[in-house]
Structures are given as structure tokens and as C-alpha cells.
Assembly symmetry: C2
Homo-oligomer: 341 residues x 2
Amino acid sequence: MGRVTLNDVSARAGVSRATASLVVRGSERISPATTERVRAAMVELGYVYDRRAAMLRASRSMTIGVIVPEIRNPYLGEMIMAIEATLHGEGLTVLVGHSHDQSERESQLLSTMVERHVDGLLLQPAQDLTREQVDRYTKSTETPLVMMMRYIDEQDNYVGPDNEAAGLILGEHLRTLGARSVTLVGGPRKSSARQGRIAGLRAGLGTAVEFDSGEATALPTNYTDTGERAMAHVFDQGKVPDVVVGYSDVVTMGMYAEIYRRGLTPGRDVAVASFDDVPMASWLAPPLTSVATWPNRVGKAAAELLLARIADGAAPPERIEFEPALRLRASTLSWGRRSRG
Amino acid sequence: MGRVTLNDVSARAGVSRATASLVVRGSERISPATTERVRAAMVELGYVYDRRAAMLRASRSMTIGVIVPEIRNPYLGEMIMAIEATLHGEGLTVLVGHSHDQSERESQLLSTMVERHVDGLLLQPAQDLTREQVDRYTKSTETPLVMMMRYIDEQDNYVGPDNEAAGLILGEHLRTLGARSVTLVGGPRKSSARQGRIAGLRAGLGTAVEFDSGEATALPTNYTDTGERAMAHVFDQGKVPDVVVGYSDVVTMGMYAEIYRRGLTPGRDVAVASFDDVPMASWLAPPLTSVATWPNRVGKAAAELLLARIADGAAPPERIEFEPALRLRASTLSWGRRSRG
DNA sequence: ACGATCCGTTAGATCGATATAACAACGACC
DNA sequence: GGTCGTTGTTATATCGATCTAACGGATCGT
């Protein structure tokens, strides 16, 4: 014999299937006595709710899709945890996928999630994802969508750090530190986040400091191995700048490795700074100067904005940007002292 | 008007719904001409496959549930990527959940996944998860289950590193290095993995070396902040051992931070070693001696074992353990030299 | 005493696909 | 020529829940 269904439960409890259904959903309209009888029957028979059937019939699936480029990145780990914590409270289940920052894989994920009728999507778009690819799955199905960290254009709901401000405060710090040349290392070339950080750095550094936006080292994936390769490339160019700025902390960890490998010490021979301020940044040797970009705030706000969009699909696109904060540590400060002294 | 269904498509193409369904599933039995007509109709109407309905009717949902204690841990990140890579090839979607190493949260996740009729489960059990909690959801529904990294008892399908061998080779290394006292730091107290590593360390260190299995620092969660607190506890006890062995690399990163904070240097004032050998281990300062426990091999093998169990549910439980490998680096080697010299 | 209102409950239709068994059309075979 | 098997297609029941509209009975107002 097959699985126990609501039909079996209602028969056992001597009520209709509809009543049993209302009990499972905790309806107020059912009398305590009936509720109790049905609950007892469920326990006796070992009933397991079948969400597939509920998902098919009901208008909502109580599922949210989350797509990020990379799952091993602790920054994104924090963000995902914040998202889940927020949505779990609403009784929503989160479906996580990672795209390897490839738009093709991301299209597949979007398709899978729309096929499963997710109630909404939280997307950190792959760097080369196009509006057409997004619209293809979300427009006809009217699936609410919020972009995180990056966006495609102005019609997107967007939550992320204020990347330009992040670049600006770091640039200013490096200028006052006395840097003469600064190179940005790594990061996904085409992403809006990278563009913003570059613009901010330029503005903060001013015209007196030589700035290389590091297009040659901008690499598709954004993980630690990328940092090693990108830093090696900088060394192989011959002219080592005063400061290397990693696109993110995970990239910078790889850069540390490569700097040590060349017999140099980060923060002494070359100043290093970065973005994100993941917990590990302060544990590196030397501790890493980094601009905090608040993964948990971003995750929480994105989830909340999505909930609002699910409740009211007609609202105009909204943008939420968080003020970054500069965390000064030895990887730049000790270099600063040395060059001054 | 609502969503386009197979009914609409079949009407447009002038065939029956059954035929259209066969076309979506790529059946061989449909003539090329018909296939083409149906495909065209799908494109014209903008048809989106509805997996909810398919999942309800079909015997398989083409979904696998994966439950791990912590999502920010890069070790688990690697493992999840290996799992997804393996299952994606079979057309399966992966549903990931993290339990914070709490059995209650884990029960909820199991329930959610069984409600969604996952075809199988890959589970790294929370340290206090009981057989009853697992059976409650998997037995009546006959959901195939493979445990990873830890197990509850001998009737589980299990894939993981050979923890005892891992402890053994590290213990032997530390003994020949000349360690007099060794303390294990952190880790989930009750997990089978920790028990195995302790047994191995004991055997490898022999009776001449003082070994503290660190029950006082064994902490529920297994992330970097845990390492800081646990190491602080060791310092506060007064007697600092020759060697501290972190339960895992992420824990050990936190230990490094605390050691530096006390004005000491890992690998010079106290030798440090660990388990897992995540990429970051070699980028720390000093590079960390660690026992490789192969997250991608574990993930891949676990996924494959699960596929086999799905194909044949009656097969007896199987255990797969991977030989660990010792990665010698400066965090122990430089201490060794100093103490010898 | 009568109709109006409210409340807990229910029968039956429904969501959109898949499974099953049967179908017509056609050629092969003895 | 009748039987058989094959091939491509289809009618219909089905998965297990939720939605809708309506139900009977109790309570209320007048």
C-alpha cells in the first residue's frame, strides 16, 4: 500500500478531506475538538504532508530561488545565511544554486526555478547575463525578482553595497597614506559592482596617484585561486605598485599567498587592501585592511524587498545601497608608517 | 489569461496532450515530423514546463536533498560543489539546507525535504541527531539516505575520510617531531568524526606524549569564531601545550588569530596542525600542516552511492572511507627545527 | 415565529502533468 | 487471407492536495 494521504486521515477522523486540509494549514475556522481528532488521526497513521500536491494546486509554492556565482565564498555564505534566516520566518523554503559566474549555467538555474514555480527570485547575476536572458524566464511568469550585489540596468530591484562609496573611502585612505601607484587586482570584469568600485577608487585617489584598474587581471570567477594567478600576473609585468587592492577578500587571500611566494611580505614590501571584510580578513598575517560591505545586511534587505514585491508586484523598482565602512589594519597601516618614517 | 499548459500546446499542434508530454520528455517513439510541430507550438506560445505537476504525477521528483551543518565552511563548499557536479549530470536538482549543527533544525529540514518527495538524501548529521529522528522521516517514505563525514550507527550508508587513519598519521608526525604535549581544540563533541580522529591521534602519539582530547573546548558549531574562543580557553588554562591540533582548518584559522593576539607566533612558540587541508591552509602565515580529507572525493562518492541506492533500494548498507594524506608545512616543521636545534 | 446572520464543515471541481492500456494503420509472415 | 507484431498516437484515469460555493444548524434580532 502507498503513502498515507489526507483522504486516509479524514476517513479515520470521520471528517471531510477539506476539513483535514484546513487543519494541516492551521486554520482558525475549525473547532478545537475537530482539530484534535484530525491531529490524532494524522499521528496514528503516520501522515506526511505532500507539498508537491499543495504546490500544484495552491497559488504559492512557498519557495524562493537564490542564485549566486560561487558557493565557497564566505562572503556569499554569510549573505545566504541572512537570506534564509529572514525567509524561514515566513515559512518559505530556499532553493540555492550557483552559476560559476557563467550566464549559461545561470539561465539553466533560472529555468529550473521557474519550472518549480518559485514565488520569487534573489539573483546575483553572472557578469555577462543579459536582460533578455532574465526576462525570458521571469517576464511571462511574472516572477518577482531582486538583484543582489550587481544589477543589469535601472529597471531592476537592487540591493547591495554602495560600491562607489566603498571605492572612494579606500581611495582616500590610500592617498593620505602616501601611495604613488595603485593597482586593482581580480574581479569579474563586466560586473556593475566592479565598475562602481573602480569609479570610487579613481575619485578617492585623485589625479596625482597612478591608478591601474587591472583589466588584464580581471577574471571571470571570483575565488581564491583567481587571486594567486592575478597577482602572479602583476609581478610578471615587472613594475610592482605601492598598493595592490584585491577585488574581494577571498581574491586577496590568494594574492597574499603569491606575494609570500615571491619572498615579499604584504604590508611591508607592498601595501594590500581589499573589499568585503569577511571575518577571515582580520586573521590573516598581516591583518587585512578591507572595506566592509555587509553581506548580512544585503541578504536581509534583499529578502525583505522580495517579500514586499511578492505582496505587491506592481510597485516600481527600488534600489537599496548600504554605506560601506573602512576597516584599517596592518596590511596598509604598517606600510604607511614605514614609508613615512 | 493564465499560464500556457501542455493542453494549449497540444491543441495548437493538433495532437493529444499525451503526445505533447512525450515530446517534452524527448521520447523516441514520436515521429520527427510530430515532434517538430509540437516544438514549434511550444515556442510560439511561450510554453514553460511545469515541474510541480510532473513531480506530483511521476514517481520521481528528480530532486536530491543535501543537508550540512554549516554553509560558510569552505570544506563543505567544495563538497557541495562535487555533489552538484555529479548529480547535475543525471538531470537532478539539488536542494541544500544547513542545520547549524542543531538536530532540531535538521529534523525540520528532513521534514521539508521528505514533504517535497526528494528522491534521496545526503546528510551530514548534526552531532546530536538520533536514529529515531532520521527514521521518522526516511523509513515510512523509504527515502534512500547516505551519510557524509559522520554516521549514527552501522546500518547507515556512509562516505567520509578515514578519520582514525587521519589522526594516526598526524599523531605519528607530531611524535617524531618531538612533541611532549598535544591538545585537540574545537570540533563537535559527540560526532563520530571527532571520536575517530581522537582515537587515531592517541594511537599515533603513543603513550609517551601527553594528549588532551580537549573536551572542554569541543563546541557545538564548527566555524572560525569557535576556534578563537576555544584557543582562548586553552590559554586561560595556563599550561600551553607544545602542539595544538585544530579540529578543522576553519577552526584553526580562528586559533591563529587568538595565538597572534596573545603575542605569540604559530609554528614558532606553539606548533599548530589541523585536518581538512582546504586551499586556504597553505596561504596562512605560517602555512598550516593539515591532513587532507578530500571534500570533493567524499562528495562525489556520496552522490554516486546515493544514485546506486536509488536504483536499488534493497542493497545492504555500504561504507566508503578515503585514505587521508598528511600535508607537511611550516606550522609544525619550523617548530620542529627550532626544538631540535 | 420568522428571516437574517454567522459558523464550522463539506462535495465536487480543479491544478497540469504522467501512466496505462488501447487504438488504428500498416507490413510481415505462414 | 487471417493472424501477428510493430509503430505512432490517443482517451482516460490519476497523483494529493486546495479552492469555491454552498450546506445545515445554531444564534440573533424584531
